[in-house]
């Protein structure tokens, strides 16, 4: 009846795990209590849980990302303190528990922090930048979000019921196979990313079609804002590479559940198939994350320098080249696993080539600022910090691309330093810049600037302290994923790394304080113009926060940065009269399917097969019910549009 699920699944075996579970459950209870206290359930249901509005979906993605950032960071600081403590004594974490923590940290940060943060920003901005009223498939958009949330929910509940994987975020067999990892941990890992991966693929299709079909009239591809370009390229990578993740996790799951031999070491299986398929997704994933961040940096550098982006066309071609090459270098993740020298050399060189378009981009951002009227707002701080740090990360990346060097470094903390060096300044700084930049668009008031700068310095200095020592420790020979470190000579640098993590902690707490302070002072920080930064692209032509239909009148754009150009020439965007607008209706079905998917994943993890099949049938039924719906739209008349727009005073859309 309950498959493998029994009372043993509760984390009573260790006080540390128990307190983790307690915090998770308590967090959920507090959320429920707060919502009940403010009688907010109805509001939440109507405005968020059932919404198909891309803007609200975007906000939900970002809230999810921030929650998961907290959780992932908590894991990180646990690892850091364990390593410091273990030099002198034993530390407080069992080896097995430490493994769960680094696996959860990596999985959460990549799949449930960075990806949702990206999807959130794209969801919010993409339709606004291309002058559309929504994405191409609003219902599917909501479904994508709820599948992502279902995956995140599975990771969270693994802390309370059962254990998480100990096989790292990459889940390599044979360790992740059923013989070495008989528990449910790897299954939690598999099902959480399998389910959320579906959501991600659907969003990519949504974004691509939105860009192809829903651009404002007049906007040719080469007029699109650069962020939109990077979204297009990242979505193409998702479309082509996420299937690899699906196949890798599905086949691993088959091996585990049915004792099949796709990736086993015996009975003719081939574990290298896993490494290959996994990294055919895994390497491009980095570019999926970083390209939109590059897009944000481009927007920010142009806006805050009050200048056109330097070399728009080159930026576009560099993005395209990176897109193609990102799919050709996956093998550099396992140079040491027995390919021939010839194969290794080819992939090493292909890896280095990516440095060229990336370097070009860095120069373009600098030339954009050069001789511009740079406004040193906290938003552009992220760009400046990124340029400084990313160059270091790029250099150590090229070191890894040199095969003999990689042989010495690949499993040390040098590698850990390198990829954090790419992903924190490259990805997270970019998203935080985007968060800062577009916050007033979404909520109608700016974020507190003083805290903005403090947060930046916390992340920037914290990053340097936390990860530069890891380069040195790696060169000294410290392996990654080590729970207990006995050599006292590692101690000083480990302490520096720990201090760095604490600085990041201040930055993260600072983000919460910033939210609080900004909401409190929202009247002072209010943006009544819709265009607080003197922006260049279409999203700044509409009121903040935008009305549900985004654009009361469809704008006409026929050049790059059309809004900035129009402002410069004192022209309008050639807007017509108000018209009736059709908007998609809210529906609970996407939310329901998300919840059932969570149940299905949970049932599969614990092998409660009847529940699994009931859930599948329920999902199918919900989908069929939905397919009967031919009229999921309602109309806002031109008269109402006019009224809504006139209530936004001072805005001229």
């Amino acid at each position: 009846m309950f498959g493998r699920l029994s009372m043993d699944a509760l984390p009573l075996y260790s006080p540390v795990a128990l307190s983790g579970a307690a915090v998770t459950v308590l967090g959920a209870l507090v959320a429920v209590a707060v919502l009940t206290y403010f009688k907010a359930w109805g509001w939440l249901w109507r405005n968020y849980l059932t919404t198909v509005d891309h803007k609200k979906i975007g906000i939900m993605y970002i809230v999810l990302a921030l929650i998961m950032l907290l959780r992932g960071f908590f894991d990180a600081i646990m690892m850091r303190s364990q390593q410091v403590m273990s030099v002198a004594g034993e530390g407080y974490l069992e080896g097995d528990h430490f493994q769960q923590i680094f696996s959860a940290h990596g999985t959460i940060m990549i799949f449930f922090m960075a990806m949702p943060f990206m999807s959130g920003l794209i969801n919010y901005l993409l339709p606004l930048q291309v002058g559309a009223r929504d994405v191409a498939y609003p219902y599917m958009n909501a479904l994508s979000f709820w599948l992502t949330a279902a995956g995140a929910g599975l990771v969270l509940i693994s802390l309370v019921v059962g254990k998480f994987s100990t096989a790292g975020w990459t889940g390599y067999p044979p360790y992740s196979g059923i013989l070495r990892s008989p528990g449910v941990g790897v299954d939690y890992w598999i099902w959480s990313i399998f389910i959320s991966g579906w959501g991600t693929t659907m969003s990519a299709i949504n974004f691509i079609v939105t860009i192809i079909r829903r651009r404002a009239p007049g906007m040719k591809l080469m007029h699109m804002p650069i962020f939109t370009w990077t979204v297009l390229c990242a979505s193409i990578i998702i479309l082509l590479c996420f299937p690899a993740l699906t196949v890798a996790t599905a086949l691993l799951g088959l091996d585990r559940i049915f004792e099949m031999h796709n990736f086993t070491n015996e009975a003719g299986g081939n574990i290298m198939n896993f490494a290959n398929i996994f990294w055919m997704w895994g390497h491009p994933e980095v570019y999926i994350l970083v390209l939109p961040a590059f897009g944000i940096f481009s927007e920010v550098s142009a806006t805050f320098s009050s200048k056109k982006l330097y070399g728009y066309k080159h930026m576009v071609s560099a993005t395209a080249v990176i897109t193609i090459f990102s799919m050709l270098v996956w093998l550099h993740h396992f140079f040491t696993m027995g390919s021939s020298a010839y194969v290794n050399a080819v992939f090493g060189i292909a890896t280095m080539i990516i440095g060229i378009p990336t370097g070009l981009k860095i120069f373009n951002w600098m030339f954009t600022m050069y001789r511009g009227k740079v406004r040193f707002h906290s938003t552009i701080y992220w760009l400046l910090g990124f340029i400084v740090l990313f160059v270091i990360g790029g250099a150590t990346g090229v070191m890894h691309a040199i095969v003999p060097v990689d042989y010495n470094l690949h499993n040390t903390t040098f590698l850990v330093a390198h990829f954090h060096n790419m992903i924190i300044p490259g990805v997270l700084f970019g998203y935080l810049a985007g968060y800062n930049y577009w916050f007033p668009k979404a909520f109608g008031f700016q974020l507190d600037e003083k805290w903005g700068k403090r947060i930046f310095w916390g992340w920037f200095l914290g990053f340097i302290c936390a990860f530069m020592p890891l380069y040195a420790l790696g060169l000294m020979g410290l392996p990654r994923r080590t729970a207990e470190i006995y050599d006292p000579s590692f101690m000083p640098l480990l302490v520096v790394a720990f201090i760095g993590a604490c600085l990041v902690l201040f930055a993260i707490i600072g983000m919460l304080i910033q939210l609080y302070v900004s909401i409190k002072n929202r009247d002072k920080l209010r943006d009544t113009t819709g265009d607080p930064w003197d922006g260049r692209t279409l999203e700044w032509t509409i009121p903040s926060p935008p009305p549900e239909f985004n654009f009361a009148r469809v704008p006409y754009i026929d050049e790059i940065d059309g809004y900035a150009e129009a402002k410069r020439k004192g022209e309008s965007l050639k807007l017509g009269p108000y018209e009736d607008i059709e908007m998609p209706k809210s529906t609970p079905i996407a939310f329901i399917i998300g919840v059932i998917s969570f149940v299905a994943g949970f049932a599969a993890v614990w092998q409660i097969w009847w529940l699994f099949f009931v859930s599948l049938v329920a999902i199918l039924a919900a989908t069929i019910v939905r397919s009967y719906n031919d009229h999921d739209e309602y109309e806002i008349t031109a008269e109402e549009v006019k009224e809504i727009m006139e209530s936004h005073q001072g805005v001229s859309s």
């Binding site: 007049g218 082509l240 196949v247 796709n262 469809v554 017509g576 009269p577």
Partner: protein, 213 residues
Amino acid sequence: MTEITASNAQEIEDKEHPMGNLGTPASNAKHGERALGFWFYLMSDSIIFALLFANYEVLINGVADGPRANEIFEIGRAAQETALLLLSSFTFGMITISALSGKRNLALIWLVVTFILGAGFIVLELLEFKELIDDGHGPQRSGFLSSFFALVATHGLHVLFGLIMLAVIAAQMLSKGLTEPVLSRLYRVGLFWHFLDLIWIGIFSIVYLPGIL
């Protein structure tokens, strides 16, 4: 420059975005958009199959003292399966033609025929799986058989899903008639069905044919 009004917005739209209707029967721009997205989905799905094919090729000699491809595959049955599926692609074409010319009942008849052909394919495939498993050549036997079952069963699951979609479309044709949304759905199910045919041709030529040659 052109002034945008509600009435000419669509015209401008069509001029500016020629990559539109990809041959959908529906004139409605929204349905063209859906078809376009479905093409992208198929692209993504074909990569899933490509990787399963690659996995199969790598493991083809991983037989672990078990049987090899040429010892277990019956070309006769595979040929029958191929015939059923190819025929069903043809009858699907007939559904589309009848539906587009407004002959609902004819379309429904062809739909039932298509459904039966597809179901026949599934039955044959299940029989084959059952025999293999009964002979001790199940997916647990060797890496080769694991990859075979993973690939062929994934295709089979797709066909099963296609059958469900066919049933839904039939129900909608009955209850709603040949409305534009129904036609647009039929168009996408059709894409899916022909796509599966294509994948099967790959399976037949990569899995079954070399087995007997």
